[in-house]
């Protein structure tokens, strides 16, 4: 049996997930990472992406947007500003958001906030990928 560690995913409005896991994967500003138990202490900044939780009896996926994560050998705490399970995501809305963001990036003008459009795009893509 694989070793387990504690995982907590906390959102401002709820505790999103709490449980024993053998691995967790997510996207940080430095790239995608997978964390096993006994990792060195590390604090990292999240980027929009998919959160994959490996429990003893299977995998769980969720969309994760911005926040940070604190990794300790026995425990991983994800502080997410927003997180969603696949069944909470509206695919139509996510696709519309993606198209809108792409549009904005394509027809950029001086007024467009490119950084914001890009995060919006990343977020929409993360949502869509979780469902698929």
């Amino acid at each position: 049996m694989a070793e387990l560690m504690k995982l907590q995913v906390i959102c401002p409005d709820r505790i999103f997930y709490e449980g024993e896991v053998s691995m967790v994967e997510f996207n940080t500003t430095e790239g995608e990472v997978g964390i096993y138990p006994k990792h060195i202490p590390l604090t990292s900044i999240l980027a929009p992406g998919i959160l994959t939780i490996t429990e003893e009896d299977g995998l769980k996926n969720a969309a994760l947007h911005s926040g940070f994560v604190q990794i300790l050998p026995e425990k991983v705490t994800v502080m997410a500003e927003a997180a969603e399970w696949p069944h909470e995501i509206d695919l139509g809305r996510a696709e519309a958001a993606r198209d809108r963001a792409e549009e904005r990036i394509k027809n950029r003008s001086d007024k467009t906030d490119i950084a914001r459009a890009e995060t919006a795009l990343q977020r929409a893509i993360a949502r869509i990928n979780v469902i698929k």
Binding site: T43, I45, F68, M79
Partner: protein, 283 residues
């Protein structure tokens, strides 16, 4: 003695007021339950956020970062969280007092308000109201807190303000609410608490970059937490105020009923005397 009709009119008017206060008490009880649940659900996030930021800063105590350095020039910003509606006892007034009695000269203060009651009261006292976000207090979202914190940090980075305070009502429990003023920026660390936790922490990206990203989140979460607490306190305060108003009305109605009955009895006695006197005169 007031006439029977006057007393009756008075009593009816108090009765209808009592109906209103009773209804308001019920609605605020329901709202309080909701606000309380939200405040409780959001608590783990802030506790952890506070802990993490404290731990980070304790380790990197003398790091040269704009968010941590006290500045000499600029004004003091106070975020004032009150309600849009009155009839909540001393709720709004306590917060306003916290600002007016803060000991910071009026000229050096810029106010960011959430809640029209606080905004109007401070504007009347000639405070400089920089921004107003009153429409969000009905149902504060995390994104609303984000907007406020971005505005504040922009002003901070441009050197317009040197420190940021937050004045709100802390929700201890249903009957006890505590007006508080806390300092958001520059971040002050609680050195006693953090000294014990000596876990060496690595950062990815580098510490300063991480601080750049985490501190705005910290400010946002503090504001969001304060909003949650304030909404719960507002409804708690209103519930209490309306409860005592209802029981005061009850008391007034009781004493008016007594007066009314006495007046009624008096008038009957008088009528009787008049009839008997009249009968005597005829015979």
């Amino acid at each position: 003695m007031a006439s029977m009709r006057d007393i009756k009119r008075r009593k009816v008017s108090i009765q209808s007021t009592q109906q209103i206060t009773k209804a308001m008490k019920l609605t605020s009880t329901v709202k309080l339950q909701k606000a309380k649940t939200r405040a409780e659900q959001s608590k783990p996030y802030f506790d952890f956020m506070y802990e993490t930021v404290n731990a980070m800063l304790a380790k990197s105590g003398n790091i040269d970062h704009p968010y941590l350095q006290a500045k000499d020039t600029g004004k003091t910003a106070i975020v004032v969280i009150t309600s849009n509606r009155g009839l909540a006892g001393g709720y709004n007034n306590n917060i306003i007092k916290l600002v007016t009695e803060s000991g910071i000269p009026k000229e050096d203060v810029v106010i960011y308000t959430v809640g029209t009651k606080g905004r109007d009261a401070l504007a009347r006292r000639n405070y400089d109201i920089k921004e107003d976000y009153s429409d969000i207090i009905e149902e504060p979202q995390y994104s609303d807190a984000n907007v406020i914190s971005r505005d504040l940090l922009d002003a901070f980075e441009q050197g317009e303000i040197k420190e940021i305070y937050l004045a709100y009502t802390f929700f201890k429990n249903t009957v006890s609410h505590d007006p508080r003023r806390i300092k958001l920026l520059p971040v002050e660390i609680d050195s006693e608490e953090t000294q014990e936790k000596g876990i060496p922490m690595n950062y990815e990206p580098e510490e300063e970059e991480a601080l750049d990203l985490i501190i705005p989140k910290y400010i946002t979460s503090m504001i969001y937490g304060a909003l949650m607490q304030a909404v719960a306190s507002e409804n708690g305060a209103r519930m209490q105020a309306m409860d005592s108003a209802t029981s005061n009305a009850e008391e007034m109605i009781d004493s008016l009923s007594l007066l009314y009955n006495r007046a009624r009895q008096g008038s009957i006695t008088q009528e009787l005397t008049e009839i008997i006197a009249g009968a005597d005169a005829i015979s």
